[in-house]
């Protein structure tokens, strides 16, 4: 009867044969999956969850089939959500998901005993099985000899030795998979059943004894030297002091990569899209369509792609760190430090990366296994000072202390520290309120150190970049278009002053003074831009929210700036330039003149807008407020809910509001208003 279930797919050619890859974490499952499917794989969530599985369609022999890479697991009774999902998927316990037609169990040959534990459980299921004995090359190098023939006869099923990283044995494996799919592999179901679950008082004990006895039969006893280099490296890398120093070095390198090195491709992308915008502008006549194309669409797409260098670098580096085995050590050394905040050691990396950009940081919280810990990390990550805040901080410091680089540096440092301190406070508050529990005590496998696989890292990076563009990119583009609409409509006539200036310019031009005419045109353009923004929806919203933000020392113009920051925080600088009618300057000189003009900007009653109190209040607001909708889009994806991104926006902006209010009111009463 069981043989029938393996044959039925073959008899129904319209049925797509599904093969599930199961294996322990660190068994090289993903590398094997990549070797079998390559670029044809897609990453998708299990419906209604944030747990991912990779799915690839391949042709093996004459047959199309689907290979599913399930999350790594140690045993079928695991309690972590990812492992439970993998186990349920394998056993066909998920709604709307049939059980796979067969399971390919990936077993790490360098760690046979442990890996056989899961294999024994899968052998007890009613699911046809092939075993891929992976990392045979490494096992040989470590002096481990496995008698594959004997293992085959012990388990009674097909055992294919492979080295997924080098591709050795993959053709044999394909051939065996083809044989299984064609229903020509009776041993896939007629294999041995360890039946450990029913013997003895402790099923685990029985199963461990079974795996021990099997591995003793098929393996040489002399395996003690297996992890000597790992042991030596661990003496340094897990040392309380040396380990911390290495960790700091690794993190610093990672930070340099995503903060500075990523700037090079980011600037290139930026320039490219400015050029494309200019190219489009030169070919389309002055119109709304041109503005939409240049600012809305080209600008919007550029605004998405500009994130890619940081995302790619971070995920490439993370994949290498994970593959080498270092990530587990990083979690190990940071565990005690992070535990004080109720977070696991692995939370450190996203929080550090967030200083470059919260988007890749939030995407990288997947390294944290516990959902509660992951959620807390996601919630506090945007409090870290990301690089989009730097132009805002630079503007405020330039407004406050144009002559004192030292004081400006102090403000900068203070701004970074404030973000970190509030993130720590938020983590503790969440631990004691809505997300109790704190991090589970650490238990983590420290896998042997290995050379990382470049192919796996590249595919992983490619995969993350694709997910970002598909899922967050579309939302970012929509936001960009929405903000463009808000700031361009409704249309208003150019102000009288601008009309007069334009007329003057025409006259001056006739008289031959082209330079003066240009100046007049520029001023007229500036006045028109100012007036049109003021009369747009964005301007109106600025007026509407003014009563709310006035206690923070902000006027309606700053309100427009804050609104525009939802596309990206740094946009406030250029928006303020337009709304205060000082024109945009991208060059260094332009910036300086922009800051000095802003310094002289006045309210209708003649008092300066950017007083010390307003500047500091604005700074505090930008440190704490959730303004980046691109981040919210990513949070939505990573938490698979609307609730958490909304909560994040509310708690961060509420925090920003209260903090700015307190700071502004105190400073004003001290006479800095």
């Amino acid at each position: 009867m069981k043989v029938e279930s393996s044959l039925s797919p073959a008899q129904r050619p319209q049925h797509v044969f599904t093969l599930a890859l199961v294996g322990n974490p660190n068994a090289g499952k993903t590398t094997l999956f990549n070797a079998l499917t390559g670029l044809r794989a897609k990453t998708a969530n299990f419906p209604g969850t944030t747990i991912e599985r990779r799915v690839g369609r391949v042709q093996i022999g004459q047959r199309q089939m689907i290979i599913v890479d399930l999350p790594g697991l140690y045993g079928l009774e695991s309690s972590s959500p990812e492992e439970k999902m993998a186990s349920d998927a394998l056993r066909g316990r998920l709604a709307k998901h049939a059980a796979p037609d067969a399971a390919l169990v990936v077993v790490d040959a360098t760690n046979l005993e442990r890996n056989l534990f899961l294999a024994s459980q899968v052998l007890e299921l009613d699911c046809p099985v092939i075993i891929a004995l992976n990392m045979m090359d490494m096992a040989r190098r470590e002096g481990i000899h496995i008698d594959v023939e004997k293992l085959r006869s012990e388990l009674g099923c097909a055992v294919v030795p492979v080295a997924a990283r080098t591709g050795k044995g993959i053709d044999d494996l394909r051939h065996e998979i083809g044989r299984l799919a064609a229903g020509a592999m009776p041993e896939a179901v007629a294999h041995c059943k360890p039946n450990c679950a029913i013997c003895g008082s402790c099923p685990y004990q029985a199963r461990y004894e079974w795996t021990e006895s099997v591995s003793a039969k098929v393996m040489d006893a002399a395996v003690a030297r297996r992890s000597q280099h790992t042991e030596k490296l661990d003496e340094i890398l897990t040392h309380p002091i040396a380990g911390m120093v290495v960790f700091a070095g690794v993190m610093l390198s990672l930070f340099v990569l995503i903060f500075w090195v990523a700037k090079i491709p980011m600037n290139l992308i930026d320039h490219l899209f400015t050029d494309i915008g200019a190219w489009v502008a030169a070919r389309v006549s002055e119109s709304d369509l041109r503005s939409l194309l240049v600012n809305g669409i080209v600008g919007g797409v550029g605004g998405i792609l500009v994130f890619l260098p940081q995302i790619c670098i971070l995920f490439f580096a993370l994949s290498l760190l994970e593959d080498t085995g270092y990530l587990a050590r990083a979690a190990f050394v940071m565990d005690k430090v992070m535990r004080r905040l109720g977070l696991p050691g692995k939370a450190f990396m996203p929080l550090l990366s967030a200083h470059a950009c919260a988007i890749p940081a939030i995407m990288s919280t997947r390294v944290i296994e516990n959902p509660r810990d992951r959620l807390v990390t996601i919630l506090i990550t945007p409090l870290m000072a990301c690089s989009a805040r730097i132009p805002v901080y630079a503007m405020v410091t330039a407004l406050l202390f144009p002559q004192s680089p030292f004081k400006a540096a102090l403000i900068f440092t203070g701004a970074y520290a404030t973000g970190i301190i509030f993130a720590m406070i938020a983590a503790l508050v969440f631990q004691h309120t809505i997300l109790p529990g704190g991090s589970k005590p650490l238990v983590i496998e420290l896998p042997p150190y290995r050379l990382p696989g470049l192919r796996t890292a590249l595919l992983h990076t490619f995969d993350r970049a694709k997910i970002f563009i598909k899922q967050a990119g579309t939302i970012i583009l929509l936001i960009s278009l929405l903000l463009w609409t808000l700031s361009h409509y409704p249309k208003s006539a150019p102000p009288a002053a601008a009309v007069t200036l334009t007329a003057q310019a025409a006259q001056v031009e006739k008289s031959g003074d082209a330079k003066r005419a240009d100046e007049l045109h520029l001023t007229a353009g500036r006045l028109t831009a100012q007036s049109s923004l003021q009369h747009s929806f964005a301007g109106r919203i600025g007026h509407i929210i003014e009563p709310v933000i006035k206690p923070l020392g902000f006027d309606w113009q700053i309100g427009i700036g804050i609104l525009s920051s939802f596309a990206a925080r740094e946009v406030i600088v250029s928006t303020l330039a337009v709304v205060y009618g000082v024109g945009e300057g991208s060059t260094e000189q332009g910036r300086t003149s922009l800051y000095s003009s802003l310094r002289h900007a006045t309210r209708t009653d003649g008092t300066p807008v950017f007083t010390t109190a307003t500047c500091i209040s604005l700074l505090v607001f930008y440190i704490l407020a959730a303004q980046c909708l691109a981040t919210s889009a990513v949070v939505r994806r990573e938490t698979n809910s609307l609730k958490w991104p909304l909560f994040q926006i509310i708690y961060m902006t509420g925090l920003a509001y209260v903090a700015s209010l307190i700071v502004y009111q105190i400073l004003r009463h001290l006479g800095y208003g």
Binding site: E77, R114, D234, R329, F332, D335, V443
Partner: protein, 87 residues
């Protein structure tokens, strides 16, 4: 590393001493995680690196675990020279 074999806790086990798990006193969820990774009654364990967190060798792999969790695992120390796990 006594010749009399008192029970000891995993966080107190001297390095390079082989012992057998005899009791685990912690929440069921943690027990499940430990069992899955090989810390299960009757299994041999050895501390590779003491401290907090500490490194334990069990079932062919190295596990990093916090001392608080290790303190819930009770062991019987194997008599020297009588343990197959040792080199």
């Amino acid at each position: 590393m006594g010749t009399t074999l008192p029970e000891t806790r995993l966080d107190k086990l001297p390095p390079r001493t082989c012992a057998i798990v005899c009791r685990i006193e912690t929440e069921s969820e943690d027990i499940q995680r430990l069992k899955m990774l090989g810390i299960c009654i009757g299994r041999r364990v050895e501390v590779v690196k003491p401290g907090d967190p500490l490194i334990v060798r069990v079932f062919g792999t190295r596990l990093g675990m916090s001392a608080s969790l290790a303190s819930r695992v009770w062991l019987e120390v194997c008599p020297p020279g009588r343990c197959a796990m040792q080199k």
